[in-house]
Amino acid sequence: MAVRRALAGLAEALAGELSSPARSESWLARIEPRAKVLGIVALIFGTSLLNDLLPLAALSVAAVVLALSGRTGLRRLAKVWLGVPLFSLAIILPAMTNLVTQGSPVAVICHIGPGAKLGPWSIPDTIAITSSGLVVAGRFLLRVFASVTLAFVLIATTDHSALLNGLRRLGMPRAFGMVLAMTQRYLALLLRTAEEIHLAKLSRTITAGSLRNEQRWVAAGIGSLFRRTHRLMQEVHDAMLSRGYDGDVRATCKSRLRISDGLWLACAIAVTAALILSDRLL
């Protein structure tokens, strides 16, 4: 039941996130995808160059303001933010302690005693969170928070096909763009197929089998899914060939850069430059 719920949930989430054609009706949604990509990339690039916590915090606030003014939805934004501390803290936790970052202790975690070693490394008598470690963790968290928010703003306010089209026009190889677009679209179909295989098994199951039998079934299911995916891949390729595909995907270029797009790009670059400058001066 848990597998079925997980597959159904994943398929539903994917269908909702990937298949919705219009993302939002905000001013950000109207920015030409190429200009938006360049502006967001400039801001994300800025986060990696900022060291001081204050400019990083300012950039994070700017990212939040962008997300809110772009009507991306607070609930969706909260879901994205929820993942930031969960994964980032797990990565940065060792760097907060005097095991990695030396500095004055702020909070003691445990006493180990003198002479402790881990392989060739000496371990301090007392493992503690240090003030320098907190700064390192704060910098890392703010960078991740700002980058994730900015990336989310880009995805949530741009139609996926327009975004891929914009990336293609910025020089991304067309074949790569086509593969990305098709992967995105067929993921939902793949999950539906996986769910159908699971349901077909469930409908013929009276009592739960042994662990070995379940493992055997999972392996067979993966094999079946692979065969179906392979067949679908061949069918899609045939369908493309039949309509004239010769290895080079052509696309219409619908959007043009306007003054407002130029203004957005100039603002994004100016904000990034100002923050980097203040970071160097602070």
Partner: protein
């Protein structure tokens, strides 16, 4: 005829009676020596409505793949528009481009046929691949959307459409290339009655516009309405009939032998009868007492 239907008129360029296909003793073997087709020979002229009939796995789809140059015969030849189909000819311009423009293929699985991000992109894919000017592509997309009455689906992702809508968009994506020949693989399968009726009427419109239609099916009622000539494949992948659809549908022994109908026994007035039986709308219920 609405302005949008001018799109269909392009196919009128194909002159009636022009030899479109000539298949000479074609065999097709799948990997592992699995037979797909054996010794198939027939020809198709422009403007014909041909139905390829046969039971499951008799080779109907394989034959359509051969006619579209997606498979090449293991033995024998397939000529299209007077040119022998080889890997070189189907992959080298200018023939490859002309061939792809002239022959459209409606696949059985719409999920495989619809791979673009939106319906609009789907309709533009073929014309763009054929290197048509952007203005021409845009005109064709608009005309085709209007012709099929699917303007409201323009921005939708094909993956989110219903089965009937997917079939419509798939056919629209084929028609957008203005082909003179359309190959249809089980086009009427899995459609509700209203969509199937729309499809029958639309195929009739295409035929009257001069398009050659070759459809594979085992649905006899669909075939009766959409074809004049039948090619019947046996379960051992051989062509066992080539002639008028009416005659084929009247030959119950033939249909029984190729597993398109089955023997059916039931009781009337206490007496048990056995007779060939069709589950389709075309239903001959004369009892052999």
């Amino acid at each position: 005829m609405r302005p949008a239907q001018q799109n269909v008129k392009v196919c009128m360029e194909s002159r009636l009676n022009e030899l479109i296909y000539e298949v000479n003793g074609a065999d097709y073997w799948y990997p592992g020596n699995v037979a797909g087709l054996r010794g198939i020979a027939f020809s198709v002229r422009a403007g014909e409505r041909v139905a390829v009939l046969g039971a499951n796995a008799s080779g109907k789809s394989t034959l359509l793949h051969l006619l579209d140059g997606l498979y090449l015969p293991s033995r024998g030849d397939v000529f299209a528009f007077g040119t022998k189909l080889t890997w070189e000819s189907v992959e080298t311009p200018p023939f490859s481009r002309q061939f792809r423009q002239r022959v459209g293929f409606l696949f059985q699985n719409s999920d495989a046929q619809l791979f673009c991000a939106s319906v609009e992109d789907e309709l533009a894919f073929g014309p763009l691949q054929l290197r048509l000017p952007l203005e021409e592509v845009s005109t064709r997309v608009e005309d085709t959307l209007q012709l099929f009455g699917i303007e409201h689906l323009r921005e939708r992702s094909p993956q989110t459409l219903s089965g009937g809508e997917k079939k419509k968009v798939a056919l629209a994506s084929v028609v957008a290339c203005s082909p003179s020949v359309i190959l249809l693989d089980e086009a009427g399968a899995d459609l509700d009655p209203r969509t199937q009726q729309w499809l029958v009427e639309f195929l009739d419109l295409l035929h009257r516009s001069g398009i050659t239609l070759i459809s594979a099916s085992h649905d006899l009622s669909f075939v009766a309405e959409t074809a004049d000539r039948a090619l019947i494949l046996s379960e051992d992948h051989r062509l066992v009939y080539d002639g008028p659809v009416k005659d084929a549908l009247a030959d119950l022994d033939l249909l029984l032998s190729v597993n398109l109908i089955h023997a059916h026994s039931h009781a009337h007035d206490g007496e048990v009868h056995v007779h060939p039986h069709l589950h389709e709308a075309w239903h001959n219920h004369e009892h052999e007492r």
